[in-house]
Subunit: 346 residues, 2 copies
């Protein structure tokens, strides 16, 4: 039985490689017939392809210094139009080719938070050879309260279960030590709440070493620490692989060795390739959003569209809600209007 | 002219390799004649060597779950005796073979904070090929106020100038974006204060990518984020080098390549070897403390003793005080007694 066709709204602006490359990714994803793409971007730069409807939206706010303000003041921006297509029900999920900040701000403003969610979070599938883990929050909320961290745990678990097919994902809390007493006051409070949370496989605190050990499927932290985590990882990997390359050019002998080793190391390069993972996920809104890395090419964009479709088919927002309800972790009292992406908690 | 002989108090307990290996490090450092070591540890396990006075102190609190309590309740512990030798003036600086928490707690209790310092910090020389940078705080203070971050900046600058011989060290603030408005409220406030700080070469905010770019000589952050930074870096490097090793065993061709490349990669292994850097530094006490990594062997211990001696000769505490005074960043009102190492701010 063929799966029902889903519609994904895709913002073509903001990717490093330009709108034409994003459009090539859309064409790749639509070729299978299960995904229809509404592509918002500069019509003149985009080649037509089957299954891709292009809406001319040349205005980009991907580089705006204040995404929240840009979203409100620029209704014709491509990301705003893409998000509104999702909010209106013309599309089932969002994929943004560019700025995380603009996608988050537009998503909060137009798609809105899912019922019972304190704060949406930005979750990144970290490419570890063999088994990626989900790190959240990676920058949506630089300051969080313990109940936010608890919700992130359930949001991450629901995502890994529904989209990545992992039964009983192991959820860990990032801290500066494995003991339950380690960390800031908020982290210690979140640990205590998670230790008793219903329906959650809580693996306790993990340290930064967990980046390479595979000991958790979901790692929960605040958006400031998560952002540092991700960038230190990328920076370290880049510096090391650069150093290995330099070592392999340092002598005739090393050059010969480097040539022989190259095919095997190519596999490693692929295994930690962020393009293979689809990018970051906006969790906690009424609809799923995916923000590929700005450096992605067509393959990465296509992978992001496929993950968004998988998230829609497995209904990540509903699964998240069920988990939070079962654990008694839904937001009870209505909060004032959602805080914009980059403004810290008062 | 021969330099005046300095005395360093060294705790032999707590290192992974055991007291005998720490004693071998002491012997190495003392062999030059410029350093005298008072070594506190189990006499029975330690071979005598010239320039090393052994004080029998078999009790170790290196693995204590609550270092502050252990320090207060165990006056005969080797780290407490070593720290008291520094406090009494029998030694000029401290090197601990083992636990950071115990060294910090004992240092706070017996050596005390330097005049005008809010909080001591744990600073780590991060081994980047070519030019290491100093990261602080790496775990002494999981929660900090902006004025603490400002002091860490000056403490780090004084250290890099005095001990590493770097003129006008570039000091950066870790955040989730380079713009001055990025980060938590406290980070934004610290940025504003540092931007106008006298006598400081402030390089602005850096992201986690700075781990590999060499763009700063000192990177300032809170102890929670610094701890995560360091461990993500170590975890990523370990996982990648393991993967390179595995790739080099994946086929006969790759094996041949690996063998040819090995000598060149050995240089890389040395360049990022934490032993070469001497470990972590306890800054902000009346005397300098050095805490080598628990995994260090004799060479790493010897390097730590040499760095401690260099810190004494260049009088890091006095230079730090001068910098803070010139910048108007000394603590004005006396604070209540120093907070213990692992207890968050009330």
């Amino acid at each position: 039985m063929a799966a029902e066709q889903l519609t994904i709204a895709l913002d073509a602006n903001g990717a490093d490689a330009g709108p034409a490359e994003v459009a090539r990714g859309a064409a790749l994803a639509a070729a299978g017939g299960e995904i229809r793409v509404i592509l918002f971007g500069p019509h003149a730069e985009i080649a037509p392809s089957p299954g891709v409807e292009v809406v001319d939206a040349p205005v980009s706010i991907a580089k705006a210094a204040d995404p929240t303000r840009a979203v409100r003041s620029t209704p014709d921006a491509s990301i705003v139009q893409a998000v509104r297509a999702v909010a209106d029900g013309r599309a089932d999920a969002l994929v943004s080719g560019g700025s995380t900040g603009a996608a988050l701000a537009a998503g909060l403003f137009h798609v809105k938070r899912a019922r019972g969610i304190h704060r949406p979070a930005l979750a990144v599938l970290v490419p570890v050879p063999g088994r990626p883990f989900l790190l959240l929050d990676c920058g949506a909320n630089v300051e969080v309260r313990p109940e936010h961290l608890v919700q992130f745990a359930h949001m991450g678990a629901a995502f890994m279960e529904a989209v990545m097919g992992i039964a009983r994902p192991r959820v860990a809390l990032l801290s500066n030590g494995t003991e339950p007493t380690k960390g800031t006051e908020d982290v210690v409070a979140a640990h205590a709440a998670l230790a008793g949370a219903a329906g959650l496989t809580f693996a306790g605190n993990v340290e930064g070493f967990a980046v390479g050990t595979g000991e958790a499927d979901v790692i929960v932290t605040d958006g400031f620490t998560g952002n540092v985590f991700l960038k230190v990882m990328e920076g370290t990997a880049d510096a090391l692989l650069r150093a290995v390359r330099e070592a392999a050019l340092s002598s005739a002998r090393a050059k010969a060795g480097g040539l022989l080793l190259k095919p095997a190391l190519g596999g490693l390069r692929d295994a930690i390739d962020p393009e293979a993972q689809g990018g970051a996920f906006l969790l906690g809104l009424r609809r799923l959003g995916v923000v590929p890395h700005g450096s992605f090419g067509a393959n990465g964009i296509a992978r992001a569209l496929e993950l968004a479709a998988r998230g829609v088919r497995s209904d990540v927002p509903a699964r998240t809600h069920e988990r939070l309800a079962a654990a008694g972790a839904l937001r009870r009292a209505p909060e004032p209007s959602a805080a914009p992406a980059t403004v810290p908690d008062p």
